[in-house]
């Protein structure tokens, strides 16, 4: 099973990279863009068939190491 973890700065935490990308898009006249948030994706190959267990394990990984929950949100997709 594969776990795809998406990590981004929490809403309300200023995302300077997102802001810079937004300005660049505006200068290219992509005027429909209202906001940009830049995050990172971590893909984990898991040796596990149990979705429930995988979700619990990856959640613990996010809380302990992969995300800093003071400033970041994460979501987990199992495929």
């Amino acid at each position: 099973m594969k776990a795809i973890v998406n990590i981004s700065l929490k809403a309300g935490v200023l995302d300077s990279q997102g802001k810079a990308v937004h300005h660049a898009l505006e200068s290219l006249h992509f005027n429909a863009v209202k906001d940009v948030r830049v995050g990172k994706q971590i893909v984990l190959q898991l040796d596990c068939d149990d979705k429930k267990k995988a979700l619990a394990d990856v959640t613990k990984m996010c809380e302990d190491l992969l995300a800093n929950t003071v400033i970041e949100d994460y979501d987990i997709e199992l495929v």
């Binding site: 935490v13 300077s16 190491l65 992969l66 003071v70 400033i71």
Partner: protein
């Protein structure tokens, strides 16, 4: 004589500057590799030196926080031992939750390396007791992720407990924020006032030939009288 133990992770690069600085002030020093499982018993101050622990992979300080020595550091801090985190060391201390908040990428997205002024906000602690409230010191900064963040509730707590120690200013003491840090915060301590963290590098300001010796007064506070 004061004994200062300086932590060294893979990627630490300020351990020898820190050693030089404290030895110049008359302390005895030891550099401790991160695989150690305990802190030397006679340690009076533990310093987490600057650098790029584990290449700053994932986030600055995120991986160092799980090095074997960090368990001993946590126990040492909880028992009241004094800990100072400089730059990457500050990031490691926030990741380890020994200090509140987190360090984000600098607002302008640049790596900043220059001298910057700081104002002393609170000197009722070992770190800054040789300085006066309102003093302005000139200390180098060198960081990519020095943008201190804490939520509104946490900020209120820091203020109420006098945990904000240093703010970024200009030479006259007017706020001048280089990196977007909340309330221009450059350094804080924990509630118990035994764990200190700052982004600037006092160990690089020990001699006027290097541009400033204002680091002397900052680090002297930790020495036994």
């Amino acid at each position: 004589m004061t004994k200062v133990t300086i932590l060294q992770f893979p990627g630490t690069n300020c351990e020898y500057d820190t050693q030089y600085a404290f030895e110049r002030l008359g302390a005895k020093t030891e550099i401790l590799w991160h695989k150690a499982d305990k802190v030397p018993q006679d340690t009076d101050l533990l310093v987490i030196a600057g650098g790029f622990s584990y290449g700053d992979y994932l986030r600055s300080g995120a991986i160092a926080r799980f090095s074997p020595v960090m368990r001993a550091v946590e126990a040492y801090a909880k028992a009241g031992g004094k800990v100072l985190g400089i730059c990457n060391g500050f990031q490691v201390l926030t990741e380890a939750r020994l200090l509140p908040g987190a360090l984000k990428r600098n607002e302008q997205l640049h790596f900043l390396s220059k001298h910057h002024h700081l104002k002393v906000i609170n000197n009722d602690n070992d770190f800054l007791k040789k300085l006066n409230v309102g003093d302005v010191v000139n200390i180098p900064i060198a960081h990519h992720d020095g943008n201190y963040f804490i939520d509104a509730v946490g900020l209120k707590e820091l203020e109420e407990n006098n945990q904000i120690l240093l703010r970024y200013t200009d030479a006259k003491g007017n706020i001048q924020n280089p990196n977007g840090s909340v309330e221009s915060i450059a350094g804080i301590c924990n509630k118990q006032q035994n764990v200190f963290g700052l982004m600037p590098h006092p160990e690089r300001a020990m001699e006027t030939i290097l541009g400033s010796d204002d680091g002397v007064a900052m680090l002297q506070g930790f020495l036994k009288a």
